[in-house]
């Protein structure tokens, strides 16, 4: 049974990656948004290096959060509309595990590229090398939380026609802790403070989200399918 559920998970991941490869705009657009939106801030605020450096951690984190939010609506929608989500709930394999697989694909397509792109933004905002590394570390720990917690909001609204606006209302308050620790870790590191506490707290949030969010998402999807 364990082997066959591993096989099911592999098949699901393969299918989702194939779908993503054939429908690139779904995950490329949030990434473009990530870069475009961040570029707007220097244009709006002015090219002052000192100010930009100071607000960089907060802005990059907020923009990453919004980009994650943009991609949430598509997480389950296509599967819901063509009925394959319903088939997944009927399968003999643990639904929570399959949901975790789908969330993992979502993170690999939206979270991971975001981390890889973040040095580019860090350069725009004149962050030095060490701060950039820490920014990437916090994003590495934090973006999975965004995908996991966001999945709950996505699952709750998947049955609604205009769910995308609602997702942000549901999910943004829950993103507050990640944003606080993520952005403040980078900001603290630029003034030479120890940030291991921040990183551990984000890691704790990740552990909590990893264990509870798939179950809540699975329950929410079942409720949405009805």
């Amino acid at each position: 049974m364990i082997n066959s559920s591993q096989h099911a998970l592999k098949t699901l991941l393969w299918r989702d990656f194939t779908l993503a490869a054939r429908n690139k705009s779904e995950w490329l657009n949030p990434l473009l948004f990530f870069v475009f939106a961040a570029v707007l801030f220097p244009l709006g605020i002015g090219p002052d290096t000192v100010i930009l450096k100071q607000i960089a951690p907060g802005i990059i984190w907020v923009v990453a959060l919004l980009a994650a939010l943009l991609s949430l609506d598509t997480m389950f929608r296509a599967d819901y509309e063509d009925g394959s989500l319903e088939q997944l709930t009927l399968s003999p394999y643990p639904f929570g595990m399959l949901v975790l697989g789908k969330i993992a694909v979502h993170w690999l397509l939206t979270g991971l590229p975001l981390i890889l792109l973040s040095p580019l933004l860090a350069t725009f905002f004149h962050l030095d090398f060490d701060a950039t590394l820490i920014l990437m570390q916090t994003l590495l720990l934090g973006t999975p939380v965004l995908s996991l917690v966001g999945a709950i909001g996505s699952a709750l609204t998947v049955g609604l026609k205009r769910g995308s606006m609602l997702i942000s209302l549901l999910v943004l308050p829950l993103y507050v802790p990640v944003l606080i620790f993520g952005a403040n870790a980078v900001a603290a590191s630029t003034v030479g403070l120890d940030i291991s506490g921040h990183l551990m707290l984000i890691a704790a949030l990740l552990a909590l989200a990893l264990t509870l969010a798939p179950l809540a998402t699975a329950a929410a999807l079942r409720a949405s399918i009805g």
């Binding site: 609604l160 209302l169 802790p177 606080i180 707290l201 809540a216």
Partner: protein, 246 residues
């Protein structure tokens, strides 16, 4: 015991049960509110430092306490409706949300009014203020989700999950905001600290007001629940009879 509970869980029985309870909460609310307000606003001595403007705590502090309490009530009844699928608990959870949002808003508004003369600003990014604001957002998100569904039962299941997710998150949000504040800058506002030496002449009216708010919540909750039951069951015969009686 179990039988009485399942009996109550039917909406019709719950409606009449709420009706019977209503006066037991409505009258104490009125009396406690009048006594508490008179004691707090007239009898209690003025603060030696803040003069009369401290008196807003007789509304502010109970409202802030209630804002979390109502969320707990909402989450517990949401959990009950997920576990036992009882319609009555769905009704209670749904009725909690606007009341809780109102208490949270009241706490924020009175705090802001007090902050202007005391701190010299309407808004301070203080840990308590911020987490109260996020709590208001949680309530509003809950209400937005609730109104997005056409089918009441689907709405109840979805919002119940959201309420439980929110309960797990409230302490996390609270502590993250608190640590963010302490990491961020030194405490600029320590006025709240001198509350620990609160005199009895102020503490007693505060407690009366807190009890009055609890009773008020129960009263409004019962009224809202009855209202929602009538709305949900409007097609049934007993509701039409009840409507004629009213």
């Amino acid at each position: 015991m179990l039988q009485t509970i399942t009996k109550l869980a039917s909406l019709r029985n719950f409606y009449f049960f709420c009706g019977k309870l209503l006066p037991w909460f409505a009258w104490p609310t009125l009396i406690l509110m009048l006594v508490g307000l008179y004691w707090g606003l007239v009898e209690a001595p003025a603060d030696y430092q803040q003069k009369d403007s401290y008196r807003i705590i007789f509304v502010h502090v109970p409202a802030a306490w209630m804002s979390l309490f109502v969320y707990m009530v909402m989450a517990v009844s949401a959990a009950a409706s997920l576990i036992w699928k009882t319609k009555a608990s769905e009704v209670v959870a749904n009725s909690c949300a606007p009341i809780g949002a109102a208490f949270t808003f009241l706490a924020l508004a009175t705090g802001s009014l007090w902050g202007k003369p005391m701190w010299g600003t309407w808004w301070e990014w203080d840990a308590r203020l911020t987490s109260e604001l996020v709590l208001l957002f949680l309530y509003l998100g809950y209400m937005a989700l609730q109104s997005a569904f056409e089918d009441k039962r689907t709405a109840a299941r979805a919002t119940a999950i959201l309420a439980i997710v929110g309960v797990v998150n409230i302490p996390i949000i609270h502590y993250s905001v608190e640590w963010w504040f302490t990491l961020h800058q030194g405490p600029t506002v320590q006025v709240m600290q001198d509350k620990q030496a609160m005199d009895k002449s102020m503490l007693i009216p505060l407690m009366i007001m807190a009890t009055a708010f609890k009773f008020y919540f129960a009263t409004v909750l019962l009224m809202r629940s009855r209202n929602e039951i009538l709305e949900r069951e409007s097609h049934t015969k007993w509701v039409q009879e009840e409507r004629e009686r009213l």
